[in-house]
């Protein structure tokens, strides 16, 4: 049997049982799925059962009826649309912005955003059926997300509404789960099909302006993936599994930390590495850090 790579479970699936026994291979994946689902469930319970732990949704929320949280990108769009931002929304946006900026990378994308589960499923199917070897992926630049982020702000200014929030599949998905979908599943399906048939890692890795926003915000954060050239055997499994390959450009050449904010800190590369060459680290750990992209 030919070896195929199942990225959704993060392992080569020619020996699924063997891999399933080795839980260390999944510890970050399982933790990520657990946080993603837990956040959604707490929001859902807030609406459905009146739990007070987390109310609202990923756009704006309240923790235990006291601490406000807000999506800083949504607030930035609202501000661009000509709104004077109220105290709660502003405080919440600052808290979330500082949290991810200090933590570093796109932790939101890898650990919280529900669309991650959708696009991971698409990629897992892509890999399972080896679609990449059959079709050529569309040639879309990874920096498109910054253009879309810029466009979100520009349209917010010209139209007087938060432009990305108006069409965001992320919003459709979490609002759908918490308050009911309506026709919103279509937006999510578009993302899924786009990732499955058009571009590998298409939405999260190329298009999503919120990802672009967090790439910039998390550029100087603390949490980093560290790479050790001395231990590396150049199997390239980390590159194979990484949804943002460009951030691992130093693999095979030089030890150092991943400095790009585009890294979603999902830890897939850590799980994939059999040589202990890739690990979670911090921005100060390795002074020999190579330059970012």
């Amino acid at each position: 049997m030919k070896r195929c790579f199942d990225e959704f479970v993060g392992a080569y699936c020619n020996t699924p049982l063997q891999h399933a026994m080795d839980m260390r291979k999944y510890k970050y994946l399982i933790s990520r799925r657990m946080t993603q689902i837990a956040v959604l469930f707490l929001f859902f319970a807030g609406n459905a059962y009146g739990w007070k732990i987390l109310r609202g949704n990923l756009s704006s929320a309240k923790v235990l009826d006291t601490l406000p949280l807000s999506d800083p990108f949504a607030v930035a769009q609202s501000f661009s649309a000509g709104t004077a931002i109220a105290k709660d929304a502003l405080t919440g946006a600052l808290i979330i912005f500082l949290f991810y900026a200090v933590l570093g990378g796109r932790v939101f994308c890898g650990w919280v955003c529900p669309v991650n589960m959708v696009t991971d499923t698409a990629r897992s199917l892509r890999n399972h059926f080896r679609l990449d070897s059959s079709w050529k992926s569309w040639d879309i630049s990874r920096s498109m997300r910054y253009w879309v982020a810029g466009l979100s702000i520009t349209l917010s200014v010209t139209l007087g509404v938060a432009a990305f929030e108006w069409i965001s599949p992320i919003g459709m998905l979490h609002r759908g789960i918490i308050y009911g979908f309506g026709f919103g599943w279509a937006f999510v399906l578009v993302v899924f099909l786009f990732d499955l048939f058009a571009v590998k890692n298409g939405f999260c890795g190329h298009v999503c302006p919120l990802g672009g926003f967090y790439s910039l915000a998390g550029r100087y954060g603390f949490l980093r993936i560290g790479y050790d050239r001395d231990k590396c055997t150049m199997c390239m499994k980390c590159i194979e599994i990484c949804p943002e390959k460009q951030v691992l450009h130093m693999v095979g050449s030089q030890s150092g930390a991943v400095l790009s904010g585009e890294c979603i800190n999902c830890g897939r590369c850590v799980e994939a590495c059999d040589d202990d060459a890739v690990n979670f680290s911090n921005i100060y750990a390795k002074k020999q850090s190579v330059g970012s992209r």
């Binding site: 704006s60 466009l151 929030e165 108006w166 069409i167 979908f181 026709f183």
Partner: protein, 262 residues
């Protein structure tokens, strides 16, 4: 031109072109979506144009609503996606005294000041009767009270009975010997909660709530109702002198006769 420079320029032009194309489709979608004026917002909502700019779509007002009157619009509803609204015929606003939906709003899209009185220290005290979510409108052709049948369902249901809805006694001209007890809505008191619409007994409600901007006309400012004592006060902001100048023609009347027409 150097090849790298050409490459760079082409790349920039391509990106700008694609951004424009994408932006136009995107903008078109937004424009379509927000041209839906038939939507009733929670109490204290700022004007609609401001509201769709500032509402962050978090749904916390919806969660705060103890009667589940508020809903968050879903794609396909034909309303701005993710924003709160209520449908009076099924679940009207129950006009809670503590208005829990308003303090739940993190963005100020529901503004406390719009539904509060100021006490003597300048503190805001909630007063739900200041809310202007909409205005009840009566279809006299289908309202059975206007046909002479005694029905005062809306009047009895109204939380602001005798100020938002009153009943006018008139003679039933058709029969010539009965009274007509017809409900009348007063825009200075009606909050648009829609409890009347819920209570209405006709198949499709004959009293229903519309957004104020749709339900009301606007009088010309200089038309003063002389029989109303203070109506003249409306004029105080109107500029005193308005001079309309029509430029005089330079020609003399005789010129007209001398001009060749054909």
């Amino acid at each position: 031109m150097m090849p790298e420079r050409r490459d760079f320029l082409l790349k920039t032009i391509k990106s700008l072109g694609l951004a424009t194309a994408g932006g136009l489709v995107w903008a078109g979608f937004i424009e379509e979506g927000r041209s839906a004026p038939l939507i009733l917002r929670p109490p204290g909502a700022v004007p609609e144009k401001q509201f769709i700019a500032s509402c962050i779509k978090c749904g916390m007002c919806v969660e705060a609503c103890p009667y589940d009157s508020l809903k968050l619009s879903q794609p396909g509803d034909g309303r701005p996606i993710g924003t709160p609204f209520y449908i009076p015929r099924t679940t009207p606003c129950r006009m809670c005294k503590d208005i829990p939906c308003v303090p739940a709003c993190p963005t100020g899209s529901l503004d406390k000041a719009l539904v509060s009185d100021k006490d003597k220290d300048g503190e805001l005290i909630f007063n739900i009767s200041l809310a202007r979510m909409g205005l009840a409108v009566i279809d006299r052709e289908t309202c059975i009270a206007y046909s002479g049948i005694q029905c005062d369902a809306c009047y009895r249901a109204c939380p602001l009975i005798d100020s938002a809805i009153t009943v006018e006694h008139t003679r039933n001209v058709r029969t010539g010997k009965h009274a007509m007890l017809a409900p009348v809505v007063h825009s200075n008191a009606c909050t648009g909660c829609g409890i009347c619409e819920k209570a209405c007994v006709t198949k499709k409600a004959s009293i229903f709530v519309l957004p104020v901007a749709l339900a009301m006309g606007e009088a010309s400012e200089r038309y003063v109702k002389g029989w109303e004592e203070r109506d003249e006060e409306r004029l105080k902001d109107v500029p005193e002198k308005v001079i309309t100048e029509t430029p005089r023609s330079d020609k003399k009347a005789v010129d007209y006769l001398n001009e060749e027409v054909f």
